[in-house]
Every structure is written in C-alpha cells, then in structure tokens.
Symmetry: C2
Subunit: 343 residues, 2 copies
Amino acid sequence: MAGRDPGSRNASVKDVAAAAGVSLGTVSNVLNRPDRVSPDTRERVLRAMAELGFVRNESARQLRAGSSRTLAYVMLDASNPFFIDIAQGIDTAAEAVGLSLVLCNSRSLAEREQSHLALLEQQRVQGILITPVDPDAASLDDVARRGTPVVLVDRTRADQKFCSVAVDDVLGGQRAVEHLIDRGHTRVAFVGGPTTLGPVRDRWRGAQDAWAAAGLPAEGLVEVTTTGLTVAEGREAGQRLAGMPAPRRPTAAFCANDLTALGLLQQATSSGLRVPEELALVGYDDIDFAGAAAVPLTSVRQPRQELGCTAAELVLDEATNPEHTHRQVLFTPELVARASTLG
Amino acid sequence: MAGRDPGSRNASVKDVAAAAGVSLGTVSNVLNRPDRVSPDTRERVLRAMAELGFVRNESARQLRAGSSRTLAYVMLDASNPFFIDIAQGIDTAAEAVGLSLVLCNSRSLAEREQSHLALLEQQRVQGILITPVDPDAASLDDVARRGTPVVLVDRTRADQKFCSVAVDDVLGGQRAVEHLIDRGHTRVAFVGGPTTLGPVRDRWRGAQDAWAAAGLPAEGLVEVTTTGLTVAEGREAGQRLAGMPAPRRPTAAFCANDLTALGLLQQATSSGLRVPEELALVGYDDIDFAGAAAVPLTSVRQPRQELGCTAAELVLDEATNPEHTHRQVLFTPELVARASTLG
DNA sequence: CGATCGGGTTGACACGTTTCACAACAGCGT
DNA sequence: ACGCTGTTGTGAAACGTGTCAACCCGATCG
C-alpha cells in the first residue's frame, strides 16, 4: 500500500539511453552540455527521462567529480537565533554560487561536534564553517590537514592557522558600557559566563576598558558570572540582582548575550523592578527577539548575515584558489539603543 | 600557504592496502567486519590508515550501497523556533538509529522548496520530512511516486496519500478560547492569517466551536486577519486593537502563533495597554520565548520534539518496512496558563 | 596419512556518472 | 574527386567502495 511506482524504481542513464536509443555519453551530454546535442535527439532523451522518472544519482556524480557541491555549517546551538541568522547568511552566499548547505548542531558538545566533523569529511564537503566548542581543539587541525578547508565563525584563534570571521567583542563591550556611562550609571553589572568562552572574555574586557577610560572606580563594575548564556541563566542572575539591597544594587546590567538579557528582563519585571527606571539593560547580538521584547532591548548588533556570508566566501576561496592565504576578518559591532536603557 | 599536507591528499583503500601490504578486500573488512580479520593485520591496516590520513569516501559507499545514511527535513521557516525544536526532535531520533540529518529551509517559498526536494532526491536520502508550503502540491506526489518516502510534519492532507504528524489544531483553538471564557472574557479577538494556512483555519474553527458551545453571541468573537504569522504582523494587529475605543475593544486576544502574540504583546505594552488587566493574551506553540517574555505568555503547547521524533519513525518505517501503511498521527495540545491571562 | 574444516585473505566485479579520444558524416571549397 | 572543418554521437575508462565466491594453509578428525 505504499503506493510507489513498482517498475520504474531508480532508472539510470543506461536505462534512459536504451529507451531513447542513444548511447550513455549522449544522455550525459544532454544533462551537462545540452548544446552539444541536436535538438531532436535531446528531445527524445528528455522524454525518455520523464517517462522513466529518472533522477540523477548525486553519489555517482560526486564520486566521479571527487568532491561534493555542498558547504557545511556546524553550529554551536541551534536554539539561539543568533546562529540561525548566521546560517541564513551562509545559505544565501552558498546559493549564489550553486552550492547547497548542510546544517549540523553540536549543542555545545565536543563529542557531537567531533562526529559531525567526521561525517562531513567523509562526505567530501567543499568546506566546513564552524563555531567550535573549543577553537583550539586539535581535531580542527586534523580536518584541515587532511585537506578540507575550515573557517572559524564568531571565534578566533591566537595562531592564525585558520580563516576566521568574527566581530570585535572588546569594542562591543566597550560601546555597551560607554552607553550606560553616558546614561549616568555608576553601578553596573556585567552578566555572563563561563569566562572560558572567548567572546564573553572579550566583552568583559571591553566593559572594563570603557569603565577605566571613564575614570570610574573599579568597584562600581561588578561581574555576575553565569555558567552559560541561556534564558534560564539570565533569570537566575536576575534573582541574584533583585535580591540585593537597593542602595548597593547596580542600576544597570550589561549581558553578554540577548538570551541572558531576556531572562534577566523577565525576572526583573516579575520581581517588580521597573526597566529601565530601576534597572537598565543592555544585551548583545541584537537577535530579532531583542527588539520584540515587551521592553525593547538595547543591544549590541553583530552583522549576523554578513558574518555568515563572508565566512562562506572565505571557505570557498580556500577551496578553489590555490594561492589562498588565511585571513582573519573582524567586523565592527554597533550599539542599538532602545527602551531598555532609554528612560 | 594553505598548510595542508601536500602528499597525502585523499588516500583511498587502495593506498592503504598497498601501505599495509594487504589486499583491498582486507582493508574493507577492517572497516566493516573487524572480527573477520586477525588482530595483527588489523593493527597494521589501522596504522597505515592513520599514517595516510585515510578518510572513507561516503559517495563511493553510497553509490555501492544504493542509498544514503541520511534523513532530511525541509522546514518552512528556520527563524521560527517552533520548527527548530521539531528539527531537534528529528535529530535525536535519527541519531538513535545512526542516521544523520540534513536541514533545509524553504523560507515559505515554493520555488526553494522545489529545488531542495530535487537535490534531496538526487542525494538518495532515506526519507524526507517536510512542512510544505502547500501540502497539496503535486511535486510532493512526484517525489513519493519515484520512491522516496515523504512524511508531512505539522500539516495534513485530505487524501491520505502520505504519513503525517500533526497536532489537533481545532482542539487547541478550543482550549485557548475556553480558557479565556473561563476567565470571564466576552469580547475576544482571534489574530492570525492567512486563512489559506491549514493550522490557522483549524485554530479559528476551534475558537468558534468553543465560543458557540458556551452560548456566547457570535459578534463577541472577532477575527483580526494578518498576512502572516510573524512578530511584525503581531505588532501591526496590536496597533489595530489599541486603536479601538475601549468599550468596543476586545479584552483578550488569541493569537494563532507565539511570534504574533509576542509582537502583539510588545505593541500593547508600548501603547500603554496593561497585560493581562486590559488585554489578556494567548499564544500558540509555546516556544521557549513565550515563557521567557516579560509577561510570560499563556500558550497552547504542541509536543514539538515528539512531533519530530514520531515523524522520523514514520519515515523510517516507510523506508524499511515493506508492508508499511500510511498513518496520520494526531497529537493532543495542552494549554499552559501563565501571567498573560492570569490577573 | 588423506579428507575435511574453517579462519584469513584475495581479486574481480558492480554501483552510476562524467570525460575524452575518436568515429561517422555532412557540407564546403579547391 | 579530395581534403578540410565542424557537428553529433559513440564507447571505454575511471572514480572508491562493498561483496562474494574462491583460495590458501594449517589444524583436526577418522
């Protein structure tokens, strides 16, 4: 009862050739160089293909060609819209050059990341874009050494052994805190973690830089460390903040991430803290949900689509250009001020 | 300067065999039936593979095997977390049986959907899960007829030519409106569209059913039609509602979708309407951001992960079980009451 | 001591496509 | 009539893997 056509299962060029009364080569030419074949035979072949329900076998094609027509993006966390937007950017860039994109999700698990990488390597993808669990992991070097181009996305490495695309997180942290200082805040919390994450570290450093540059006393900027950048962690941090006595409580928080900021916003609201009057809030990434929050969130925008797009271009260059040299592209973030900091 | 190992590019079983001093078949056996080969030769072969940086060629493998080890999910809109969660569910199910998942995003464009389907067919994927732009499109039948199992996700079709997995949207709409009636509302807006979308139609019907069952006058339930289920559409609908004179304005809104509800919530808040006091709000899907909103959103939960998981099982059965028969699985939604309706 | 057995290994073949050198043939000018 | 050019079509070879019948050889059994 499955209802598939019983006879015509998986016709091959050979079958098409037989049906059309031509040779294999001719069928192949119809597929790949239609101009090389006379109109009427082409017509005959096309009709045969339609009748037989012929579908090109991509595996055979790839085997012959030696490499596939796909790029891959291994993302860190598909439930964070930030990475989805990056994927979107990659997709459009890939589409423009006729490649397709396969998406993998490591869920921040090194083990999953590893197995995805292995699979992609076996698939002979043209290139791998990845936001790795650990940019310094040796497995990345292994993949690259064996010949698959690898580009780091939203991460960098001290040794410049890979192309990478990232945003200046130090500058972003600076901008965020400068904005809060401009708005008159003198007690500010930085919420984020773990500090092993490169971007968190950099944003924190930027925050400190801005603080110092303004000549404010160091104890006014407090670090509230979380174990991850999720909504739940933000809520939890919010509880800690709301629990502090008002005179000591920071009047503003800069979150390493919009998810965290949204969680914090929720907890603050439900604890009766008014945003931005009693607690101003700055997020990071400017995901769509940041602007869509009940109190629209001030955030540091990263050019997400462009990030993905550029990464795709880099990996493609590495795959096709023999005199490719590794490049580290650094974009500039931009503060988007909204109601969560504007009284 | 690309830094790849110059010599060892793409070693094949043949190279490994030569290096280890054995035949091709033996190498293949090491890979596929390690027990069939003596420990010391196995050791020798493995060492040779490591030295040469051998990576199995999946294309060749698939060509030989006749089908790939992957499932595919063509999603309607990757920027809606609802579909990401479904993908998550599929992924875990696929992983459990050793298959990998490739994700495609049609962005609600029939043309993109079509080209993804063509590509997947060429890839000989084991099965295709899809939330189609139009469940009745003939292209779906074509794919199925040519032998690739297709399962509809969060959509159904009148003729039961496909397996499908969905949630009872009529019931969901009913539950949502019953909840609002319980809370004492007598003027309620249904916000959503376009009505060509099956789920929107069903939820609206469920809403009407509940309304009629409660014996309320039909004019108390108004339909606010949008052209899509996005945050922006929600905002726009919010503006329309906020513009109405208070005595005529609905005291509650049931949105066909959480994104729409979040947009509506934002617009209402910024227009000075208090939620839930002046406007109660019910969403649909219960995406994580619904619970994370500043005013946590009451929503109709769909078992998203389970949806994906079951769809994967169905497509797998269709792919492997010769006496497969099509099934339409219908899950039951569940109302999750939160602050947006609880004064 | 010969027959039998079975673990370990071999080598040829098939999968479906693309490519490429070459053949067939018509039209053309000399 | 001949060679030349250009257009169509041909058939074999190759890509890397998995499979399978056959083979080798030492050990066991009768």
